[in-house]
């Protein structure tokens, strides 16, 4: 990501300062340019007024000198005009001043000789269009132009034109050109000063903004750091609070919250510890007598041939019920371990296909008739707790065998880049929408009458779901009455991973999802 846009998003101080800089800069540019334009206009206008007065008085003075020269015949007209051209009069403010004299059209040949410019001023400085206007005495008698010298040097200036009459020769165009170099210099000084002031102002403004915003933000930043530490489990972290302003109030409220949080967490931890202790104690206290009962009943059972038929049957029932009690106890303990969040994974690398085969062998040694395993040729290696995965598989496969209604059961194994999946599909009694919602609930039975005979704790699927969740995996089910059921276990191959795709579909190919319903996606 672009570093500027990332800072814009991550740092409030940076954003506020940048906004301040941008806004103040644009305001300064607007105000500065308005100020400069006004200044420039004022300076120019003053120069123009001076120039017009100067030019007019010069023209009058030249005409006067010529008039005087006419009466003092000793003085030559050519000399007067030459003096006018040769010595540009320095104006009061010391700026450059040039003069140009052009004969008007239709003047005598002798008169044309008086044409000339002061210094090295190029006659082309004064555009023909302006001269036309002067000759016609229309419009302004001044114009802005560039004063050009024969050497190629130029400077900005104002030209003021007049028509003067040279006695006995005719009319001449008389131009006085005033250089604006001085004014330009002044303006550039002002401009530089404006820029410097502006930049300094923006810099100071951003500095002030930065300092102020930091004052406001640093407690917020502290709060964020402390909150992160609290989240990481360091419950003793508190904010450093001074004063009584709004920010300090935030700090006090924050610290109070941390205290309450800590109390709550400690209370819950304590409860959880108590719960785990209880589970462990119950486990120990129940299992030891159960072991004794079990052994005693086995001894009685082994000797049942010596008893009356009723005692024989009792011995059989006793043993069967002890089995059932044992299964129920271990399932209950497992469930309370999940509830106490005391269940931990014992991760190992296992071949899923091998595990499925072993589970099938264990549950149903003559599997060829009923169970078909469809697996890739290569082993499917996953990082998982083999005991828990085997427990899930046993549950799914024995459920399928129980509910298959004498039809075959298909077990599919597949893998993708980072997931592995097992699908157990039967074509038996299936389940309906209402049942699908309860499938993973504790002590729920698909068919109470049947299930009682079969035994089983009714905790199998909910334990399987918890085991799958513990692996960050998914256990999903599809079912449809009389069309069967499909249970799909999807696991991340590497521990710590998560399920992003399904190597095996939950809804079997050829089955529509409208007939049935997907149930209980685990929240992971």
């Amino acid at each position: 990501m672009n570093p500027i846009s990332s800072r814009w998003r991550s740092s409030l101080a940076w954003r506020v300062t940048a906004t301040t800089v941008l806004l103040s800069l644009s305001i300064l540019v607007l105000v500065g340019s308005a100020l400069f334009t006004n200044l420039e206009r004022g300076i120019f206008n003053e120069k123009l007024i001076n120039s017009l007065a100067d030019a007019d008085s010069s023209a009058q003075s030249v005409e006067l000198q010529l008039a005087i020269a006419q009466y003092q015949s000793s003085i030559d007209i050519g000399k007067v005009l030459g003096d006018v051209l040769a010595v540009p009069v320095a104006t009061g403010d010391g700026s450059g001043r040039e003069v140009a004299l052009f004969p008007t059209p239709g003047i005598s040949k002798a008169g044309a000789a008086y044409e000339g410019t002061s210094n090295l001023l190029s006659p082309k400085s004064i555009p023909e269009s302006f001269r036309k206007l002067i000759r016609a005495k229309k419009g302004n008698k001044w114009e802005r132009l560039n004063i050009k010298y024969l050497g190629g040097h130029q400077e900005r200036g104002i030209a003021v034109g007049n028509i003067i009459t040279v006695p006995s020769v005719g009319k001449f165009e008389f131009y006085v050109l005033f250089s604006l170099a001085q004014q330009d210099q002044t303006l550039s000084l002002i401009l530089r000063a404006l820029w410097l002031t502006g930049i300094a102002l923006v810099f100071l403004l951003s500095l002030i903004t930065w300092l102020i915003i930091r004052q406001v933000i640093s407690p917020v930043r502290d709060a964020a750091v402390v909150a992160e530490q609290l989240t990481a489990g360091d419950l003793d972290q508190r904010m450093n609070v001074k004063g009584e302003n709004e920010i300090a109030r935030l700090g006090y409220a924050f610290n109070e919250m941390a205290v309450v949080l800590k109390q709550q967490i400690l209370r819950l931890e304590n409860l959880s510890r108590l719960q785990q202790r209880f589970v462990s104690d119950v486990s120990h206290e129940l299992r030891t007598p159960l072991t004794t009962v079990r052994m005693a009943s086995e001894v009685i059972y082994a000797a049942r041939a010596n008893f009356d038929p009723s005692v024989q049957r009792s011995a059989e029932l006793l043993l069967a019920q002890i089995d059932r009690f044992e299964g129920l106890l271990s399932d209950l303990l497992e469930v309370s371990r999940f509830d106490a969040e005391a269940a931990v994974l014992d991760i190992d690398q296992i071949d899923l296909t091998n595990l499925v085969k072993r589970t099938v062998d264990y549950l149903h040694p003559s599997r060829e008739r009923i169970l078909t395993i469809h697996a890739p040729h290569e082993p499917v290696f996953i990082d998982a707790d083999s005991r828990r995965i085997e427990r899930i598989l046993r549950n799914l496969i024995s459920n399928a065998i129980d509910h298959r209604a004498d039809k075959p059961v298909d077990i599919h194994i597949a893998e993708s880049e980072s997931e592995a999946a097992v699908a157990v599909r039967d074509y038996g009694i299936g389940f309906n929408d209402r049942e699908s919602k309860q499938l993973f609930e504790r002590f729920w039975r698909a068919d109470p009458a049947r299930a009682r005979v079969r035994g089983g704790s009714g905790l199998g699927l909910s334990i399987a779901l918890e085991d799958a969740k513990l692996h960050q995996g998914l256990l999903e089910a599809w079912g449809s009455p009389a069309r069967g059921a499909n249970f799909v276990l999807t696991l991340p191959k590497r521990s710590g991973g998560f399920v992003a795709s399904h190597p095996l579909p939950v809804i079997p190919a050829g089955e529509s999802s409208t007939l049935s319903e997907m149930v209980d996606r685990t929240e992971n």
Binding site: S280, S283, H284, P289, R294, M295, E298, V299, D346, P379
Partner: protein
């Protein structure tokens, strides 16, 4: 007659164990306290010890550690908790096997018999694994002229692997061959004992060369880095 020592604080269970084991043809010594176990153990030298984890006096794990320090007798832990933590602690302390309560008497007897059996010496040859010499008749391990004491189970485990060097044994295969389990997937049992065996015979247990882990499958005896399967 084979003597089995039962250490369990529950007197009824201990008595019941006595009845079952007597019925299976074993002689039984009962102890109810951990701190009394060692004395009787030294006096009687039982052929096998059944040891409860939770005991008054000294707990079962510590008792197992002390017995193992003095003797190579087979020890089977009885645990009321199937929790990984307890099981691994017991195995690391020196127990050969464990049974989770409640267990079936027939299974208990079967396990005891497996632990008591002498590995049938189908061969009298001595096996050689690296610099380790395994004498199958005298049941001794000799590394560079030094005798290393092994428990019977560790010996069986080593022989099982060394008999077919290069063959990769899955954990399940080892469980069936050495522990006599069927359909068991208790990898902890195998892993802990492999570690203990390595600690005894490997020159560098962190980089084992005699018993090599084959990733995702199991273990094999042989040189590190060779991939014969």
């Amino acid at each position: 007659m084979t003597l089995i020592m039962v250490v369990d604080d529950d007197q009824d269970l201990a008595e019941m164990l006595g009845i079952v084991l007597n019925g299976a043809g074993f002689e039984v010594d009962l102890v109810n306290r951990g701190d009394e176990a060692m004395e009787l153990f030294r006096a009687q030298s039982p052929d096998l010890v059944l040891l409860d984890v939770m005991l008054p006096g000294i707990d079962g794990i510590e008792v197992a550690r002390r017995m193992r320090a003095e003797s190579m007798v087979p020890i089977v832990m009885l645990t009321a908790k199937g929790d990984t933590h307890d099981v691994v602690l017991g195995l690391e302390a020196g127990a050969d096997d464990y049974m989770v309560k409640p267990f079936e008497p027939s299974e208990l007897v079967a396990r005891i018999k497996v632990r008591l059996r002498r590995a049938p010496s189908d061969s009298t040859d001595s096996l050689q694994l690296g610099r380790v010499k395994i004498d199958q008749v005298a049941h001794t391990i000799n590394r560079d002229g030094k005798i290393i004491p092994l428990t019977r189970l560790e010996f069986d485990l080593l022989v099982a692997l060394a008999k077919e060097p290069g063959r990769v044994f899955t954990r399940e295969a080892l469980l069936s061959e050495v522990w006599g389990y069927q359909h068991a997937t208790d990898t902890r049992l195998v892993n802990v004992h492999i570690q203990r065996l390595r600690a005894k015979i490997e020159f560098d247990p962190e980089n084992p060369e005699l018993i090599v882990t084959v990733r995702g499958i199991g273990y094999k005896a042989g040189q590190k880095g060779s991939h014969s399967e």
